[in-house]
């Protein structure tokens, strides 16, 4: 994306800054991060088993691995959230023993978490100052901070209005605020945890170019991901983690996606798209006519939506996050009241009054918000599997639930959906994202639905789990179930959908047959062009 000339000037510009920072670093060639044999044990689990990697100043270094491979634990070790049981960590050549994130931040390490940590009612500038090490001495002057934020934003091409309040910003913009916050507070080493999960393809490209600018300015960026193409696009070197061990570190130049996938999973994998069997769709299972609904802030989020999904068909809902897709899913599943229009499921009108009506009509829902909505994290796998069926006769006698039956059902489901966990009584919070999603799918599909609403069903999942989820959705459609799939991942939309409806500003901009759609056209429609 950057041509050689740009790269060169950026490096030159960065050199000045690097030298201004080098007062803190002992030698000119000291590594920014050097982790040697980092080991962290949890009861029964070896989360990090002698993990080693190193990143030079100005390097973009990717940590690649499936969910549960130990990426998050490693970051928590770097950030001082955990203390290592064994191993050494050197930051800019000096041994580091962090006791809290504060210590790590004092050493110049900042992390942008997957779940952003901003105060929504405050402005961008206020969020940047909040918690800064010198906040008290700074004597907060909004204008000065706004200026500093604007400068940093301009330098790293991350346009954002410093006086805007967080709740007014899109997820992509909020993420930029998190990055700017770290930069303004003196981050020399920046950890980005799955940063593209909340971005559109265009926003992701923008982020990558900002990341390259930061690296050119002497900052070290540690980029955590399980998405192969973006790792290849942005990083110079990749450390692959598998089962808590660092398998190897390879330069991205000359390495292919298949090679990395093989290292990550530990066997040869094919990245072939999920096959869809062509077949004739059946009668309509979902009909929306003129549906309107309000969003969380009381503004109109859905405007006059008319859609149809037939049995055996996958309707992909494309659009930039926040254009009404979530509200659509919630309206169909009864979680959000409509203000106008009708919804029919299998010909029967969906009555107002909560999700139970939709559940009874055979609507299964795989929500986007996995941890808070789809599951109760502190309950066991067996209990989460009966979250929708616990009212049924098969689950117990009268008011009493049968524990034995719940366990038996869970064992069967776990085998059928390949949920990997110590047992049915394991708490769901202890599972990896992929296994949690399998629990959700197992529960939703075992209710014999006639319509499945899946919102970002593969967000945050690793390669293996993503392919598994897509196969299951394709198989569900092949079995004659209607599927509505909301996704911000256009590849996913194109791979699975029979038809694609594009959302913009709460409206359906257009509906295309997947065979007739192309990415460019859909991309334009996502931006509002009809």
């Amino acid at each position: 994306m950057l041509d050689a000339g740009d790269d060169h000037t950026a490096l030159a510009a960065g050199a000045g800054l690097a030298s201004s920072l080098s007062g803190a670093a002992p030698g000119p060639r000291a590594l920014a991060v050097q982790a040697i044999d980092m080991t962290k044990r949890f009861p029964g689990v070896l989360a990090n088993d002698h993990v080693s990697f190193e990143a030079a100043p100005g390097e973009v270094h990717a940590l690649l691995g499936e969910n549960g491979a130990g990426k998050t634990t490693l970051c928590n070790l770097l950030m001082g959230l955990y203390r290592p049981d064994e191993g050494k960590l050197f930051i800019e050549g000096k041994p580091a023993r962090f006791r809290s994130p504060k210590d790590a931040q004092d050493a110049g390490i900042f992390m942008v978490h997957q779940h952003l940590r901003l105060v929504e009612s405050m402005t961008v500038a206020e969020n940047v100052v909040l918690g800064a090490a010198g906040a008290r001495q700074l004597r907060f002057s909004p204008r000065a901070v706004e200026k500093a934020v604007a400068e940093a934003a301009a330098r790293f091409q991350m346009s954002v209005d410093p006086a805007a309040r967080i709740w007014q910003l899109s997820l992509g913009q909020r993420q930029r605020v998190e990055v700017l916050k770290a930069l303004c507070r003196g981050a020399r080493i920046l950890i980005l945890d799955e940063p593209t999960a909340v971005l559109t393809p265009q926003e992701a490209d923008q982020l990558f170019s900002s990341v390259r600018d930061m690296a050119a300015a002497g900052r070290t960026v540690i980029f955590i991901s399980h998405k192969l193409p973006e790792v290849l696009a942005v990083a110079e070197r990749v450390t692959v983690l598998r089962h808590g061990r660092s398998v190897t570190t390879v330069p991205t130049a000359g390495t292919g996606a298949d090679d990395l996938a093989g290292l990550m999973v530990g066997r040869e994998v094919s990245l072939a798209p999920t096959a869809r069997v062509a077949h004739e769709p059946g009668p309509a299972v979902l009909e929306l006519a003129g549906v309107c609904a309000r969003g969380d802030l009381g503004t109109e989020a859905l405007k006059d939506i008319t859609l149809q999904v037939r049995a055996g068909e996958i309707l992909g809902i494309a659009g930039v996050s926040g254009n009404g897709q979530r509200e659509l899913a919630e309206v169909i599943t009864g979680l959000r009241p409509t203000t106008a229009g009708t919804i029919r499921i299998g010909g029967a009108r969906l009555a107002a009054g909560g999700p139970r009506a939709a559940i009874d009509l055979g609507v299964a829902y795989v929500p986007e918000d996995r941890m808070g909505t789809a599951i109760a994290p502190d309950l066991s796998i067996a209990e989460n599997l009966m979250l929708k069926s616990y009212r049924g006769k098969a689950r117990g006698w009268g008011p009493v639930l049968s524990r034995r039956k719940a366990i038996a059902n869970a064992q069967e489901m776990m085998a059928r959906f390949d949920v990997r966990a110590p047992g049915p009584t394991t708490l769901v919070r202890q599972l990896s994202g992929g296994n949690i999603q399998k629990v959700v799918l197992a529960r939703e599909l075992s209710c014999q639905p006639r319509l499945v609403v899946a919102a970002s069903p593969t967000r945050g999942l690793d390669v293996g789990a993503t392919q598994y989820v897509r196969r299951v959705l394709a198989g569900t459609a092949a079995a004659g179930v209607g599927v509505v799939m909301v996704s911000e991942d256009l590849d996913e939309i194109f791979e699975l959908s029979d038809r694609i409806a594009v959302f913009y500003a709460g409206r359906v901009v257009g509906t295309l047959k997947a065979t007739e759609a192309d990415r460019h056209r859909v991309g334009l429609m996502m931006a509002g062009a009809t």
Partner: protein
């Protein structure tokens, strides 16, 4: 923000802490109290022995400890049950007052019935009154999304005023207007003999009927939460409210019914106060005891587990009993209160220590490269 002492959440709390911390807290409490006693000129060992004897071994001491534990058992269950679903019913105090009003009303009106029926009527009357009082914050929470902590707390004071009004400021049904003594100082009507709850006597030890009731309730609530559809819904709602909506649980009704049960339990605490012990609606006695608030402490120490509430209420009941026995000319009430406070404080503090980590910072780090 960068003070010398820092509190950090433990991400990886080791399992042994759960056993060691409560024991260590008790030992620590004993040591601190010993220092306090030495400083005030008392012998710690003889004081501890005196406490032990006053709570357990002395004649009638154990019965007396159970008397103090009984109301705490109910109010502890009231709080523990609601808190389990993260519905913060702080209104046990007021619900207890109203329960006492309801139970004394039924006991007075139906006093001529056979004793077992009167007792049942008093339990039902107290429970209903407590339930109705708890439904006020419950309805506000479910339909207007008000904070139940504030509303239920405020209603405690309202309930207090209601009880005072009934006895001191009005010619209500509950007030004794006939006996000569009552014209000098206002009191409630004393309940008839059928309304006196019998204790269960084993040798010299008497167990209040209320405690037996509470014990049954504790077992029942434990099973309700653990193995019924109702309890399953409660646990889902407590753990993940959005998941509860998503799974089709009718969350508003659930708040109403859980608060009703919680308030009903506190109401029975009021029934037991009337039937087991007081036999008269006594506003001052109820208010001074503060059983509702202590019940919150009981529930917290029991980690909202109904069976653990039984043990904790006995511990605190025994401590209270021992405290009263210690009081005397050379041993002021304030010292007893301080001792009890230290013991509860260390046990609660220990709980927090098990979940968080304290560390001393060697030196506040100088502010390094901030806003450019």
């Amino acid at each position: 923000m960068t003070g010398p002492l820092r509190i950090e959440r433990r991400l990886d709390a080791p399992g042994w802490l759960k056993v060691v911390v409560p024991l260590a807290s008790l030992v620590l409490a004993a040591i601190i109290v010993a220092i306090l006693l030495l400083a005030t000129g008392h012998n710690p060992l003889s004081t501890y022995h005196q406490m032990y004897s006053a709570a357990i071994t002395a004649d009638g001491a154990l019965s007396s400890s159970f008397v103090y534990a009984t109301p705490l058992l109910f109010t502890g269950l009231c709080a523990a049950f609601a808190f389990r679903m993260r519905t913060w019913n702080i209104g046990g105090e007021g619900q207890l007052y109203m329960g006492a009003v309801g139970a004394s009303a039924t006991g007075l009106v139906l006093g001529h019935w056979p004793a077992p029926l009167v007792i049942i009527a008093m339990v039902v009357g107290g429970a209903l009154a407590g339930m109705l009082w708890a439904e006020i914050p419950a309805l506000l929470r479910a339909y207007l999304r008000t904070n139940e902590i504030l509303t239920s707390l405020m209603l405690n004071y309202v309930a207090g005023f209601v009880v005072y009004y009934l006895i001191y400021d009005s010619g209500s049904y509950w007030r004794d207007l006939t006996t000569p003594g009552a014209s000098v100082f206002p009191t409630g009507k004393t309940l008839g003999p059928h309304a006196n709850w019998p204790g269960i006597t084993i040798g010299s030890f008497t167990l209040p009927l209320g405690f037996v009731l509470g014990l049954g309730l504790a077992v029942g609530l434990f099973l309700l939460v653990r193995s019924t559809r109702y309890g399953f819904e409660m646990r889902v709602m407590g753990d993940a409210p959005r998941a509860a909506d998503y799974s089709g649980i009718r969350t508003k009704r659930k708040i109403l019914s859980v608060m009703a049960i919680s308030g009903g339990i506190a109401g029975v605490a009021g029934s037991s106060q009337i039937g087991d012990f007081g036999h008269v609606l006594d506003p001052r006695g109820l208010e001074q005891a503060q059983y509702g608030y202590t019940g919150i402490v009981v529930a917290a120490l029991a980690l909202y587990n109904p069976l653990a509430v039984v043990l904790v209420s006995l511990l605190i009941g025994g401590l209270t009993n021992a405290g009263f026995a210690l009081e005397g000319p050379s041993f002021p009430t304030g010292l007893v209160g301080t001792m009890e406070g230290i013991i509860l404080f260390t046990v609660l503090g220990g709980e927090i220590l098990a979940r968080y980590r304290l560390s001393w910072r060697r030196r506040p780090a100088p502010a390094t490269g901030t806003t450019s």
